[in-house]
């Protein structure tokens, strides 16, 4: 892996919208695509009939391609995903598309989002032309907790999310919603959670979640960690505090039943803050080793790294299972906090394993992982 810089101007953000069958994903997409002012947005959907947009269609030029009255273009996948994306660029270059500012991909409810993310991160024909803006996952306030418990696909979708939309929030009582949030937090301690009633979402709920914000400056990791703190504070009142740092051997104490059950699936989130600059060669070697050894179980990994060679220019890293996005070097730090921050969402990987291997192979002195949802305000600090 080498550090490379990709201009955000040239690369098109791609949002992956997923969610289990019946979780309200299609309703969310329908509401989104009915909003005004979506010029330049292309939605890649499963089939036209499904989302009931017929009344919005201005022009269906061909079987797989349609223009909506709000300027949004809908298309279905032809061939594979990378071919479809490359084809959009070609149409844009040929003037067939007036604008191409962002893309949202709807996946099928049973889909494992990882292969799509791998394509977006690692396909040679897409690198530098498209990047992942974010993974948005719908979970259903009424049935979501059960789905999460009973379906591994649902748990994995939640684990890789950058943003979670709790749908049908108007149909569920507070206890059910709290139980669901505890379940979701057990799988993903960091992604912001938004309540959605009646499928009402706006572009702000879906877009610009990615590695770069619109100004091209603020890496998502900052926000992720920030939200982790807020999220933990808002939603995890039932969680015990002060039991020290968890090594992943047993479910954390004092959780509601649903939470504990989700823990049995072994999906956990951890974060770490590292004060000292990091040897990039050693760190990227460690990333390779993690991918080789535990790639299947490293569901999501993000980080902003202060490297010893150029501490003023951080490197952003981002991985889904064994595939890592080419590391990106930023021009400057997005905030005054210049420490390395790492966030992990893992399945059955004890924190201790991450700590010992970081120390040994990334040569980071005594790294300490904290359950990310436990309390983001008290994220561990080395030497603290």
């Amino acid at each position: 892996m080498t550090s490379s810089q990709i201009s955000p101007d040239r690369s098109i953000p791609v949002t992956v919208l997923t969610g289990f069958l019946g979780s309200g994903k299609t309703t969310v997409l329908n509401r989104l695509l009915s909003r005004p002012g979506l010029d330049g947005t292309v939605a890649i959907i499963n089939e036209f009939g499904e989302i009931g947009l017929d009344h919005l269609l201005i022009e269906k030029s061909e079987e797989s391609f349609a223009l909506l009255d709000n300027g949004c273009v809908c298309c279905t996948i032809r061939g594979d995903l990378s071919q479809t994306l490359v084809d959009l660029k070609t149409r844009f270059a040929a003037g067939e598309l007036k604008a191409l500012d962002r893309i949202v991909i709807e996946t099928t409810g049973l889909a494992d989002p990882a292969p799509i993310l791998h394509t977006l991160m690692a396909d040679d024909t897409l690198i530098g032309r498209f990047h992942i803006d974010g993974v948005v996952v719908t979970v259903d306030a009424v049935n979501g907790a059960g789905t999460l418990t009973n379906h591994a696909e649902s748990a994995k979708q939640v684990a890789v999310a950058d943003r979670l939309l709790v749908t049908k929030a108007d149909l569920a009582d507070t206890d059910a919603i709290n139980a669901l949030i505890r379940g979701v937090r057990a799988h993903n301690g960091t992604a912001p959670i938004r309540m959605v009633s009646n499928g009402e979402v706006g572009p702000e709920d879906i877009f610009e979640l990615g590695l770069f914000d619109a100004a091209g400056k603020s890496p998502d990791v900052e926000r992720w960690l920030h939200e982790a703190a807020a999220g933990a504070h808002d939603h995890d009142h039932g969680q015990s505090k002060g039991h020290g740092h968890d090594h992943g051997h047993a479910p954390e104490g004092a959780h509601a039943g649903g939470h504990a059950h989700a823990q049995e699936g072994g999906i956990r989130s951890y974060s770490a803050i590292i004060d000292d600059p990091v040897d990039w060669a050693a760190f990227s070697h460690w990333l390779e080793l993690v991918a080789a050894m535990r790639g299947d179980d490293m569901l999501r990994f993000k980080g902003i790294v202060r490297v010893s060679d150029h501490p003023e220019r951080p490197i952003v890293v981002h991985g889904v299972q064994h595939v890592f996005h080419p590391p990106q070097m930023l021009e400057q730090w997005p905030s005054d906090d210049h420490r390395t921050k790492l966030v992990f969402i893992v399945r059955d990987i004890p924190a201790e394993t991450i700590e010992t291997t970081l120390a040994k192979f990334a040569r980071i002195e005594a790294p300490r992982l904290r359950p990310a949802a436990e309390d983001g305000r008290h994220l561990s600090r080395v030497n603290a």
């Binding site: 070697h285 390779e288 080793l289 991918a291 080789a292 050894m293 535990r294 394993t353 010992t356 291997t357 040994k360 192979f361």
Partner: protein, 553 residues
Amino acid sequence: MSTSQADLVLRNGRIYTVNGNGDWAEAMAVKDGKIVAIGSESVISGYTEGAEVIDLDGKMVMPGIVDVHNHHFIAGASDLFELRFLPSLSYEEVLEKVRERAAQTEPGGWIIGGSWGSNFADRLNSLEAKKALDDAAGGRPVLLRDDTYHNRWVNTAALAAAGITRDTADPEQGEILRDPETGEATGVLLETAAAFVERAADEAQPLTPEQQREAASSAMATLNSFGVTAFLDAACMEYMMAALKGLDDRDEMTCWAGACLPATEPGFIFGKVGKELIAVKEQYRGKHVFPDFIKIFLDGVPPARTAAFVEPYVPDTIHGCCFCGATKMTVPELVRWVGDAEKEGMGVKIHCAGDAAVLQALDAFEVVRSFNGPTEIKHHVAHASFIREEDIMRFAELGVVADLCPIIWYPTPILEATKAALGEERAERFWPNKKLDEAGALMASGSDWPVAPQPDPWDGIEGMITRENPSGAYPGQSLWKEQALGLEKVLEIYTINAAKAMRIDEFTGSLESGKFADFIVLDRNLFETPEKDLADTRVLKTFFKGRKVFERT
């Protein structure tokens, strides 16, 4: 199954048990293939009725030999179907062997065999030598392997059959040696370049399934004759496992057989490898057949300068001044293989001829241990012979087996060729067996047969103790004498340690109640034999699961 207390009773013997306490026994009783009593004469008193009783007449008995590294099938097939000659033969003698073989081979038929001494590769590397081989074979295609099994000497018809012309590019990690003036291939093929001709020969004369079973069976008969009752094939292809499973189904196995499934095609045997081979392994598992290892070829061999070293080779015209050789995989690639192997419950045997390959393999094992914690699975560094001082401790720390083979821990032609490549001083820091032992490494013996012309443990046992060539060659010379081991330790390396390395020590590898009666009767007591006569030891009888599978006549 009989109703008597034992089927077989041995008495009046000197039974060396290798049970970890240095215990000797006089008598042993066997029932349904397993040892039911072992100790003094008195322990077998209740067992003799209805049993076959053998009076050992004071002969030494010990556990069967376990060979953790051989290529049984290739050797068996070679013995049955190929031309065999010793690497000590001269150039003229090799040509004479080919001439004799040609007389018995139909026109156009292949002459396949070995092994020529790797120390005269230079002599073979010329158009004149190729012409001589053409003439000796009467135009038939010839494929002769060297004593490292990594390199080949072939003739004009073989090159033509393989489609090698002066325009053929060298394959990755291999070389077609050429005449410096004309650019024509001389017939000497290094490393992966061997595959061209091996494949052509394989396709021209494939063995039938029955011949394949004969090859495996013949190999086991040879192994039994040297006292071997368990082995691990270090590169077992699907058809080889099928041959073993076929024999197991007919109840014709005379050894425990482990199989290492190659991760990548080794270049001299062909077929499914890696994940594809692992996917089918369970259909070949048998009562006596265990496909529980993966084999990785991480580098080549020192004489051909294909082994990977930390320090450069002696400069030569081809490689220049600072050539260290290279490994064929990176640490993360190795880590992936070893990690995946552990998920399957499999061990990994990594061929590491140079110290840089050893270092890299240990690094990979260390990564896997860091992620996975301790394990019962055994991984092997094969040919653990050139090892940096600071890496010796790591064998014990990481629980990695030092697979000692081939039997060249004393002066040999390979040592001479290695001196040319590494310089005398470095070449003689070869096989730090004593240091490995002191560090607490699990050391296990192998033969690498047919790289070693015979799977003869007695040669290896003497050599480990004397560090001198047991044949009397290189008189007065020894190899790093300080690394000599004592007989007790060496016998462990050849029995229980090797069984541990194969993870079959629960039921074989020593003579103890409850274990299978895998044992050998020797013509002498090793502990009363002068060191320099140990290689003359002959196995009189070999028993596998209490059944006699070899008797010297």
